[in-house]
Every structure is written in C-alpha cells, then in structure tokens.
Amino acid sequence: MTEPLLRADGLVKHFPVLRGVVFRRAVAEVHAVDGVSFEIAPGETFGVVGESGCGKTTVARLVMRLVDLDDGTLTSDGEDITRVRGEALRKLRLKMQIIFQDPFASLNPRMTVGDIVGEPLHIHNMWKDGGPRRVRELLDLVGLAAEHAERYPHEFSGGQRQRIGIARALALHPKLVVCDEPVSALDVSMRAQILNLLKHLQEEFGLTYLFISHDLSVVRQVCDRVAVMYLGQVVEVAERDALFDRALHPYTQALISAIPIPDPELERKRRRIVLQGDVPSPQDPPRACRFHTRCFKAQEICEQIEPELEQRCDDHPAACHFAEPRAPVVESPA
C-alpha cells in the first residue's frame, strides 16, 4: 500500500450519559468508539459498515474532527491532525469534507441553494475569485441547473437535496470525502443516481471516500475495502470481494446473510443465519468478545479472552477466536 491519505490509530470516544438538572453529572459512559484503527489509501473507497449503535457515525465525525477524540491519533498525509485547532483546523477543511445522511436536515432551510453551496467559498475567502461562477459549475457538476441556486432546499426532492449536499462538499476541492450514509434516506431510483454520481465524481477528481453505511449491498456496489464494526470495535477488515465471498467473522457472516436479495428463487433457498436477540447497550458492552452474547459459534473462551484483530489469511484481519470462511452468500450461484 502507498502512503495512506488518512490513518486512524486506536480511536476512542466515550460519551458521558448525563443526569440531573442543576448539577449535571455523568452516571455512565457510552462506548461509542473503542479502539478503532484503519488506513485509507489515496483514491480508494473505504467502507465502514455496521448496525445502529456500532459507532460508525461517530467514526465519521471523529475523522472530520467534528467531535474530539478521547484517545488515539489521526494522521493525514503524514501530518498529525489529532488535535489541530483554529486556523489549522480550518485549513484541514479544505482537504476533508463530509456528505450527510439526511438530505432534509443537512441543509439550512433558511438559506438558498446558492448560499449553501457558496458558503465554503465565503468562509475560505474564495468568493471574490469567481464565486458565482464556481457555484454554477458545482451545481452543473452534480446535475442541477444554475437557476436552482435561487431556490430553497424545501423545493427539492430528497435526491436533489443530496446533490446539493454533494456540491457543497466539493466546493473546496477536497481530497477525502466522508460519506455518512449518503443514500440510506433515499428511494431506490434516487439511490442509484446518487451512487453513480459519487462514482463519476471520484473518477473525475480522484476523490478518496470514507463510506459509512449500514447497507452491505450498497457497500458491495461502491467500496474497495470494508471494515465491519460491532459495538464500537472493528471486527473484520477486508478487500470487498474477500469480505463478501469469504467473510471470516461470524458477525459479518450473519450480517451478509441477513440482507435480503431481490430474487425470490435465491432468497427462498438461502441458508440464513438469524441472530438471536438485540445489539447490547453500548453503555455496558459484554466482556471479552463483545459479540459472544449473540454469536452462534460462542464458546467459553469468548467470554473470557478478547480476540485480537489479527491477520487470518492474506491481508484479511478478523477479531474472532474461531474465524473461518463460510460458504458464500448463495450456496451455488444459479
């Protein structure tokens, strides 16, 4: 691998659970992210998947420096960005941008589309240098018309709003774009349009994506490498096809097998792993292997010794005492 564009090393973020009105005190801690490490190479799409509460969205915000780390380091292009503040942090914004999940909540309803897309230019003193032209260019890039600049976000459909969000993220020519569930709030036909747009933009500008999603089928479509998270920890990292065809961790296997396939014949023939119970509370995660309470392979050792995230076969680390591949999604591709 070449020099990574972004390296995350042992990221930790715990959120305090506050109680009390006058004197607020922490009564517990949510272990949102608990020792997460990964590297993203320039030009690749690195996926982070997991269910709600696994910490994937917190990872996105940590990387964007929207929330502060409790522990760990972030390195971008060899520069430590873990604690940059003020002007240095503003400079960092030129390099890293984010696309949000909810196209209804991520655009200020009181600003016009032109103001929204142009805001990064104003903030970074680039407006005088052909600002309006750049806004038109950006709108055109994401498939909107120049006249749309005068409208307000509520006049657009979900898919179009997501395009506005993408235009804003691209305004500063970033290298890394964090995509936080960019299509999960959209309808199927809009989803395909946005995924194709993201891919097109990546090819055109050599963008690197950190792609956060709960939907493994979307991840399979867009990502080059994937990390699977469970309760604040990475349980498996692999190249896309290695992950989908030879998943090693029981959780990944269950997750893949739970995604329905839009094909009745295959869908009804599948051997599905139905996990028992719910995801435990991240306030009080299970000891040792965090997945052992729901795991179909769990043994005594899983409750006692935490499995390390270590290489199982070539470049395919998984954190399980009993990691081994399972048959692919569908037993015999028809």
């Binding site: 709960h214 399979r220 329905p260």
Partner: protein, 348 residues
C-alpha cells in the same frame, strides 16, 4: 360484539379476504386536489402475502390507510371505488361498523412501533386492552392471553416482560409487541406498513420470520407495504408495483422478478444494489424523479422517465394488459413478444 363476521371455511375459502375495486383516494392540499391513489384494484386470498411496492409518494401507504378507513382527516377522502372485506363494502360502512372491523378483523402494524404504543401503560395491559375493547372477557384471562401472545411473537420471558413499559423494549422487541397486539383477535388480514424499515438488518430478518410464522399459525392474509424489493422477494406470494398513484404491474413474485413487463418494474429491479453480486461498472438507473400528482403526465405517468418511450405513451393512457397467468402490466407494449429489460438494464 355479536355480528362480527367470522371466517367460515365453507363459505369463504374460495373468495378473497379483501377485494379492492377501482379505489380512488384524494387529498385536498393548498395547491389543489391530489389523487394519491387513482383507480387501483387488487385482491388478497386467504393466507396470502400480498406486497405493494413503490417509492415514497407512489400512494402505497394511502392504499393501506384507505383499506382501514384511516385516511388523515379532513384532508383525505376516498373519492371512488370499493373495499370489499369478505364481500362487505367498507367504504360505505358506518363508522361504528368500521371501528368494529378495524383491530378485530383487519389489523395494522406501522413502521415506528414506539409512537404506536402508549408509553405509560405496561405492554401486557395494552394487549389485554385489545381483548377488552372487542370481546367480553375476564381481565385475568385477557392478561394470560396477552402473555401467551408475547411468547408467540418470540419475546423471551414473556410473563415477566408483559409487566414492562414500551421504552424498556428495544426497537425489534417493540415491533414484536405491535405484532402481538395486531394478531390478538386473530384478524383475517394483517396490514404491515414498512414493518422493518426502521430496524437493523439482523433484526429485520427476525421480524419477517415472526410475520411469516404468525401467518402460518393463524391463517392470516398479509398486505405488506414496502419499498424494499429484497424484503418482497423473501416473503410475498404476489406483488403489485405502484407508480404515481397508479398500479403499473401485478404478478406472482417469481414472475415479477424473472420476467418484469413494465419498464418501471425492471428499472427498479436494475437499480437495486445486491449483496450477492460483484460490482459491475455503474448501476442501471432510472433518470429524473417522480412526477407531480397535481399535474400528472397526461397519458402514461412513467413516460417522461421511460427508456422505451414511444409517441403513443404521451397520448394514450395504457390500460392494464394481461401478459401471463396472474400477471398484468400497464404498458402499451407489455404483450409484445420479447418485451423485457435489455441486458444492460439488468446488471449481470
């Protein structure tokens, strides 16, 4: 409650549980009248899982609400058509009769179970309440039944958990509680409106399993409203696809996926991401966005986005055409031999 129509195998097994005929549902808005559902017909047989698929705004949820007579008031109303429940028209039924049928013979579960449950009442009480509303029954018996229902839908330690409040349950468990409430009186039809959309995938798999299990156990028909073609594939017997208030295609599940006859159907299938397929270039996509229902396209509503559009599509409305046993499609060319998606419209 004496005159509730119960299922009589001899009389009823041949005819559909519910038959919707030419349903028209309208909403008054500031900008004018909107036909959210425009002339939709379908029927659901005993024990059948019938899925209605489409994107947001296509009218699928309005269909579900119309069947129950629950359109938001005063903006919404049923402007035409019939909803025949075992032959009895619910559109013209009295409000009292509708209340009787609702919850008893036809029950519904929603996407967000938390807002459908009362946060201040123990879940066991809430289920028992369903019995007391519709049946004369001892409180103690009702409670016992509630506990039993909770264990049927797979809630562990049902006896203890019946005393808990809704917020003490996780999302998946709450949806199970909703299902328990809905099936309490053994309804003939269960309407499930996006029952798993708010849930994680591993939980979704559990809930779908519960639904299919109670269908089997109680011989219920299920009207499943969803946008997810994957969920449909695993659960539905027959599928209706809606677009901009119209029914565009209906077919047995296998045929719909194997030989879709409406370009919108295959557009949806093509643009759905799949976990079992390696990436092959870009996804096929449907261009544009759905039309305004205030000023819908004059003829075929899909024409502005259709890859196969012809002049006739912009002038004549395509009626539903029969293309195979049980399969109809509202496309002028549906009956043409060889009509179907081109190879590039379906990813390999």
């Amino acid at each position: 409650m004496t005159d509730v129509t119960y299922f009589d195998p001899e009389r009823d097994s041949a005819r559909p549980v519910i038959a919707v005929e030419d349903l028209v549902a309208e909403f008054r808005t500031e900008a004018g009248i909107v036909r959210a559902v425009d002339g939709v017909s379908f029927d659901i047989a005993q024990k059948e899982v019938f899925a209605v698929v489409g994107e947001s705004g296509c009218g699928k949820s309005t269909v579900a609400l119309s069947v129950l007579g629950l359109l938001p008031q005063p903006a919404g109303r049923i402007a035409g058509g019939k909803v025949l429940f075992r032959g009895e028209d619910l559109v013209s039924a009295s409000p009292a009769r509708l209340r009787q049928v609702r919850g008893d013979r036809i029950a519904m579960i929603f996407q967000d179970p938390l807002s459908a449950l009362n946060p201040t009442i123990r879940v066991g009480e809430q289920i028992a309440e369903v019995f007391r509303a519709h049946r004369e029954i001892e409180p103690k018996v009702a409670w016992e039944q509630a506990v039993e229902l909770l264990s049927i839908v797979g809630i562990p330690r049902a006896l203890a958990r019946a005393k808990d409040y809704p917020h003490q349950f996780s999302g998946g468990m709450r949806q199970r509680v909703m299902i328990a409430m809905a099936i309490a009186l053994r309804p003939a039809l269960l309407i499930a409106d996006e029952p798993t959309t708010a849930l994680d995938v591993t939980i979704q798999a559990q809930i779908l399993e519960v639904l299919l299990d109670v269908r089997e156990r109680f011989d219920m028909a299920i009207l499943l409203i969803t946008h997810d073609l994957g969920v449909v594939a695993g659960t539905a017997d027959r599928v209706m696809v809606m677009y901009a208030g119209k029914k565009v295609e209906e077919a047995p599940a296998l045929d719909l996926y194997r030989t879709p006859k409406h370009p919108y159907t295959w557009g949806l299938l093509g643009s759905t991401t799949r976990v079992d397929r390696p990436r092959t270039g870009s996804l096929p996509q449907i261009p544009g966005s759905p039309p305004s229902l205030l000023v819908p396209p004059p003829a075929c509503r899909f024409a502005p986005r259709c890859p196969r559009v012809q002049p006739i599509c912009r002038t004549d409305y395509p009626e539903l055409r029969k293309v195979d046993v049980g399969q109809v499609a509202a496309c002028h060319f549906a009956q043409d031999p060889g009509w179907g998606p081109a190879p590039e419209e379906v990813p390999a």
